[in-house]
């Protein structure tokens, strides 16, 4: 019996491949780099990400698939790849001074981060449930370790273990869902699943499988009621890891979520759209209400990230081309905005001592007016305040929902974003409207953090005021 050599097309997976190779090189570099030069490993990682981004850009419009239809390089996946690469690069810029200050500057940090990025890219471009699962695990495992990277800090360890346990739990659900869908349709390929379902009616086995898949994705993007880990893990993990997790994981997991449900399971849309709509309402509402009462910025941003997952889910419920492009735009906008917010929080920290309580920000505007301005802009953007990126993102998503007859969902979204203004403005009020707290003197913002912050804030404003090019790119991202 002849063995079929798989349809190998390395060009299609070039971005993930480049990131992987970079990770391996950094791993070897770690062995030969003396302790005081570890930041060069960070620069190397960023260089790798830039090359990967170029590779993704050169594939733009290629719309090719490879590995027997398991991976695809369509604009949807490439847009997400670029978003992920951007978020990783900005996170590393923030990380280099951060892990140095916290005395955890080991090359492994970058290796794990890059490995996770590779998993994310795989997940975002996969068109087969097995490959999606592969990406999911590859992105998750390094993150479990990264969450626990501050080994001296029990809260960080706790975050890592909690994330790992619950993550394993949800992965099991997801895998079981794949098995049941395979049982019902005879394939794990998304296109073939769609074709199979177009002809046959659903079965209880399929319903359970779809439900489990949904739970698996819901855990990764932190939808209520699968979000319980989020506040604890985001709170305990190193701040730079939290920043990275809160944006990049969402981009990758939502990518696969959209691809699986909108592309492979449209036949069951009547069922899962209703569930997703309810989840979206729960997620937005609980995320925002819980965030209202947080006194810790990291926890507040954790709940805020839950709420944002709810907004993005509205785009899935809309299940239209505009919904898809609005989700892509939103993910990009959320990425730069949230990284900007975390960047400002890191910029205001005092060496290894972080300022994470909202009241710690008192009077920051007087000492660091530009950082305070940046944080204000990012928080306003998160709140969906015009004319920043977040506003355009929300407008697109709500518009897509209204277009497809889900106006009530949009209304709940609008109401939620009004509620969210209150807690997003609390740090702003502290910074601008309180007497300076103790210990501001002598804090200098690290140049790399300042650079990341500048990139993020410029992006937030540019995406808010001139969103047209990004919207056009996102609109080209139809799923193959």
């Amino acid at each position: 019996m002849p063995i079929l050599v798989p349809d190998i097309n390395l060009r299609i997976i070039a971005p993930a491949l480049i990131v992987t190779v970079t990770a391996i090189v950094v791993l070897l570099g770690e062995l030969v780099t003396p302790a005081e030069r570890k930041r060069w490993l960070g620069y190397l990682s960023i260089a790798g990400l830039v090359v990967a981004a170029f590779a993704a850009f050169s594939l733009w419009g290629a719309n090719a698939s490879g590995f027997s239809g398991m991976v695809v390089a369509d604009n949807f996946g490439l847009f997400l790849t670029l978003t992920i690469a951007l978020s990783a690069a900005l996170s590393i810029l923030l990380s280099i001074p951060f892990i140095h200050a916290h005395e955890i500057d080991q090359g492994e940090y970058y290796v794990l981060l890059l490995a996770s990025v590779a998993g994310m890219i795989v997940m975002a471009t996969a068109t087969d449930l097995i490959v999606i699962f592969l990406g999911l695990e590859l992105l998750s495992l390094p993150l479990y370790i990264l969450a626990a990277f501050q080994r001296e800090d029990t809260r960080s360890l706790e975050a890592g273990i909690k994330y790992f346990l619950l993550g394993a739990f949800s992965s099991a659900f997801f895998l079981y869902g794949i098995a049941l869908v395979f049982g019902a349709t005879g394939t794990t390929n998304l296109a073939k699943i769609a074709a199979s379902l177009a002809q046959s009616a659903g079965s209880p086995m399929l319903s359970i499988g779809v439900g489990l898949l949904m739970v698996g994705f819901a855990f990764k993007v932190a939808l209520v009621p699968f979000h319980w880990w989020t506040p604890d893990v985001y709170d305990g993990a190193p701040t730079t890891v939290t920043a990275f997790m809160s944006v990049a994981v969402k981009a990758a997991a939502f990518g696969a979520f959209f691809r699986t449900f909108q592309f492979a399971l449209p036949a069951l849309a009547l069922d899962w759209r209703a569930v997703a709509a309810v989840l979206a309402v729960l997620t937005m509402t609980l995320g925002n209400v819980a965030a209202l009462l947080q006194s810790n910025v990291k926890r507040m941003l954790a709940y805020s990230s839950i709420a944002h997952a709810g907004y993005i889910l509205i785009a899935l419920v809309a299940m239209s081309a505009n919904g898809l492009s609005s989700a892509l735009f939103y993910l990009l906008a959320y990425t730069v905005t949230n990284l900007g917010a975390f960047g400002a929080v890191i910029a205001l920290s005092d060496g290894a001592r972080e300022r994470l309580e909202i009241k710690d920000f008192a009077g920051a505007a007087r000492e660091h007016p530009l950082v305070a301005l940046a944080l204000t802009i990012c928080l306003l953007s998160l709140a969906g305040f015009p004319p920043f990126a977040g506003f355009v993102g929300k407008f697109l998503i709500f518009g897509a929902a209204v277009e497809t007859g889900w106006a009530w969902l949009a209304v709940i979204g609008v109401l939620n974003s009004l509620v969210s203004v209150y807690f997003y403005l609390r740090p702003v009020v502290q910074m601008y409207m309180s007497e300076p707290a103790e210990g501001w003197s002598g804090i200098r913002v690290a140049p790399l953090v300042a650079l990341a912050l500048l990139i993020a804030v410029i992006s937030v404003i540019a995406l808010g005021v001139f969103p047209a090019p990004a919207i056009a790119l996102a609109a080209g991202g139809l799923i193959r």
Partner: protein, 118 residues
């Protein structure tokens, strides 16, 4: 169709019956001279009871994990070896890449001192 699952049901019944019969027969026919050591579930293993917070050196885990890692990778060699001729050059290159990555991991563990006991 439910009828398709009948073999599974049959298997479940057979398995349960076999276990029950084996246990019953051995307890009926075997000689019994209970001692404290014999009554332990695992006669030669770790004591099953006691504080779960007993400290065990991390090196055990590290060694165990490294062993599992490389041990499982070895398993991939068997099917490759069996099909080596059919896979031709492609198989050789693929395995080369695989071994290279494994080697890098090996070098990393080695240089990091993962194999040192002290």
């Amino acid at each position: 169709m439910p009828i398709d699952y009948l073999p599974i049901l049959v298997m479940v019944v057979v398995v349960v019956a076999f276990a029950a019969i084996a246990l019953t027969l051995s307890s009926l026919t075997g000689p019994r001279h209970p001692t404290a050591a014999k009554l332990e579930p695992y006669e030669s293993g770790m004591p099953p009871f006691g504080s779960a917070r007993r400290r065990i050196s991390i090196k055990y885990y590290l060694t165990a994990v490294l062993f599992i890692l490389f041990d499982i990778e070895i398993i991939f060699f068997y099917p490759w070896a069996v099909l080596f001729r059919q896979l031709k050059l492609f198989g050789l290159v693929e395995m080369g890449v695989f071994v290279l990555i494994l080697l890098i991991g090996y070098v990393y563990v080695w240089r990091k001192g993962g194999f040192n006991w002290d």
